[in-house]
């Protein structure tokens, strides 16, 4: 990795051999004594290349590790960042199935949490750096396989996250009016696959199953005053739907108790202070809890104290004012486990939910909810299931632990597959905030760096990286989107947003994104047979 004297010094040394050529080059009649002058450049070269700090210009035989990362969310970018920072030669290519990068930072973080999205700035720097390239609109597993990537790169890191969600597994789950919180978040954040969700917001009561930060996010977006939502990057379509929403009350329902809530204090505080909304917390749920948290670690203690305070104490001046004039409500229900979603008379839509009343066995994080036999029913027309995201297997060549929903690995090295790594949610499971993913990604990058150092990735075997992949993609009619293409889409979104007083107006149709950057025609003229444009730009099965 660094320059060393070694063999390069030896080749320079060769010019020090007394050579008839050197003597003759100085011309006829030059005294033999002058020939030694020819040795000076050789001597200088030898000294120069022997110096430890000397950097030779790159040649094709230079051992440049080529690393491929699948997924351009925080895990992908932080892994790339760490690799590029700690290895002076490595080249990193980031692949992404959507045209646009950033994963959950763009599609998961709530519109009213723009500060969390500041990480996009550091990711942008990484993408713009010399040894990093971004290739959007490429679906690994379909447009190019993992095996093909492993042929083209010395190391492949899978950071494709969790695109699915856990299912309830109860009757009525597929009724109209029941959605996963993941799809709902995707809908208001402009994730292309969820743009046609059209959730029915005509119900006064909404039930969110789950008590994590995602549950709080969806509750907050449903209850936030429109004036505030309007200024965020929430999509135009979802803003219009929320504007005509009839939702007045949101319940967050958990199987266990207050000490097991998964949301964190910042998000709870936001909810407590939400303009126009009042919390409904049953004091009975919090009786005796103050004693129970005396010796608990500070984060859990403060979180529980805030809930207790909100439930049991008289509100402060600021809160009292908000709650007095509130037109909307949110509440926490504990010790309720969903049994069945109840249908309307015509059997098509959700009208309510039947839940088992539970009690806790054990305490703390490991407490379990056990049914008591009692049952409760609640009327509601909109149910959002927020019980966790879930990763999907990529293909037969990548091992997958279906029980835990992760790729089996040790410190980011995929078990049984040398040269294959993973980072982020697909490695550890779909929980945690950005710092969790950051540390995890640095961890995986560290494993890659160690393996490079130990010679386990055979960098002397030159790999072509994207040059090999390019021809594969071309043969399959796939057109990658570059980072500067993304910058054009970005600029267009920001410009449209400015007209509406928003940070950006997200483009939700991938075709529109591709049209903007010239990878799809603006107008497909309807002619008999195929148009020239469609032949040039569309894959065979999509030609019109």
């Amino acid at each position: 990795m660094g320059a060393s004297g070694g063999w390069r010094g030896a080749s320079a040394l060769r010019c020090l051999r007394p050579a008839g050529l050197a003597g003759r080059a100085w011309g006829h009649g030059a005294p033999w004594g002058w020939a030694w002058v020819g040795w000076i450049p050789c001597l200088l070269t030898f000294l120069l290349v022997s110096c430890p700090g000397f950097k030779r210009p790159l040649s094709t035989s230079e051992r440049v590790p080529r690393i491929c990362i699948v997924g351009s969310g925080p895990a992908g970018f932080y892994t790339a960042q760490h690799l590029l920072k700690h290895h002076k030669l490595a080249r990193v290519d980031i692949y992404e199935k959507l045209p646009v990068p950033f994963g959950l930072v763009r599609f998961g973080v709530a519109p009213d949490h723009p500060e969390v999205k500041n990480v996009i700035n550091t990711f942008t720097q990484t993408a713009q750096s010399d040894r990093c390239s971004y290739y959007g609109n490429v679906t690994v597993g379909k447009d190019v396989t993992v095996e093909e990537l492993q042929q083209a790169y010395h190391a492949v890191v899978l950071s494709y996250g969790a695109e699915d969600n856990r299912i309830l597994g109860i009757p009525g789950e597929n009724l109209s009016g029941v959605y996963s919180a993941r799809a709902f978040v995707g809908w208001y954040n402009g994730l292309p696959e969820n743009r046609d969700l059209k959730p029915d917001l005509s119900s006064k009561t909404v039930l969110v199953l789950g008590q994590g930060n995602v549950a709080l996010d969806v509750a907050r977006i449903l209850l936030t005053p429109l004036d505030l939502l309007r200024k965020t990057d929430i999509t135009e379509g979802s803003l219009a739907a929320i504007a005509s929403s009839k939702v007045k009350r949101v319940w967050l329902v958990g199987r266990r108790g207050p000490l097991q809530v998964a949301f964190t204090i910042k998000e709870l505080r936001e909810m407590v202070n939400l303009p126009g909304a009042r919390p409904i917390l049953d004091p009975a749920d919090f009786a005796g809890l103050r004693d129970a948290i005396k010796d608990v670690p500070r984060p859990r203690k403060r979180l529980t104290e805030l809930m207790i305070k909100t439930a049991l104490e008289k509100p402060g001046e600021k809160e009292a004012k908000i709650w007095a004039s509130a037109t909307r409500e949110w509440g926490l229900k504990f010790l309720r486990s969903p049994l069945e979603i109840l249908p309307t008379a015509d059997g098509k839509r959700a009208r309510g939910i039947r839940m088992a009343v539970t009690r806790l066995e054990g305490s703390g994080e490991s407490a379990t909810a056990v049914p008591t036999g009692e049952v409760e029913e609640l009327e509601c027309g909109l149910i959002l299931s927020s019980i966790g995201y879930r990763s999907l297997p990529l293909g037969s060549s990548v091992p997958f632990d279906r029980k835990h929903g992760i790729i089996p690995n040790h410190l980011g090295r995929v078990q049984g597959v040398p040269g294959l790594y993973c980072s982020g949610w697909v490695k550890r499971g779909p929980t945690g905030v950005i710092i969790t993913t950051m540390n995890d990604s640095f961890d995986t990058a560290q494993s890659v760096l160690e393996d490079l150092q130990a010679g386990m990735l055979n960098v002397s075997n030159t790999k072509e990286g994207f040059e090999s992949v390019r021809s594969i993609l071309q043969s399959r009619g796939v057109h990658p989107v570059s980072f500067s293409d993304w910058e054009k889409i970005d600029a267009a979104e920001v410009a449209r947003g400015q007209l509406a007083g928003k940070p950006r107006e997200k483009i939700v149709d991938p075709q529109e994104m591709l049209q903007l950057i010239g990878l799809a025609p603006f107008h497909s003229v309807s002619l008999k047979g195929k148009t020239l444009y469609s032949v040039l730009f569309f894959k065979p099965n999509e030609r019109k």
Binding site: L228, K266, R298, P299
Partner: protein
């Protein structure tokens, strides 16, 4: 790349709801003149520059030491009024992943551990800072977020520790295990 080139100061306009999240140091220094009076800073290729006190030449210089996760001591000369996050960013100190949310109290990546006597003299911690600190790894009794701590003249020679992350601890355990075999 319009978003990238928007000066940091105009970002609150774009962020809508984000206007209230000023850092304590900036509020103290920039209550009067708009920062546009300062020379326009271009974005360097390695890091984003942060605002510094209005009159740099008269601001006191304060030496601050950061002990990185690998034990390396990074020394910087800070200006009074900068936050410790400002110092790390402006001087491009090699601390991995520091300041992800850019000082807006939306992460805990600028978590630092102080010596007890220094910690006790720091300005009071807000609920908002504590909320984010609660999520930090290696939380200690003398932990603070670097973006909320302003450099003062009295801090000259200050030494702060960058806490080990979960992954660092796990690797230490691994190395320990391997050496025992």
């Amino acid at each position: 790349m319009i978003t990238w080139r928007v000066p940091r100061l105009f970002r609150p306009l774009l962020n809508g709801l984000n206007i209230g999240k000023a850092q304590p140091c900036k509020v103290a220094e920039h209550s009067q003149a708009p920062a546009t009076l300062q020379p326009e800073r271009s974005f360097s290729s390695t890091h984003w520059l942060r605002d510094v006190p209005r009159d740099p030449s008269s601001a006191e210089r304060v030496t601050v030491h950061f002990i990185n996760r690998d034990g390396e001591k990074l020394t910087a000369v800070a200006k009074e009024g900068e936050s410790l996050l400002d110092v790390v960013v402006n001087q491009n100190l090699g601390i991995d992943g520091f300041g992800a949310c850019e000082g807006t109290l939306a992460c805990s990546t600028c978590h630092l551990i102080f010596e007890r006597d220094v910690f006790q003299k720091l300005d009071a911690i807000s609920d908002e800072e504590m909320d984010m600190l609660d999520l930090a790894y290696g939380l200690s009794d003398t932990s603070r977020l670097g973006c909320q701590v302003c450099v003062k003249k009295s801090m000259d020679g200050l030494t702060v520790q960058v806490p080990m992350e979960v992954s660092d601890l796990r690797r230490q355990l691994e190395v320990g295990k391997q050496s025992k075999q």
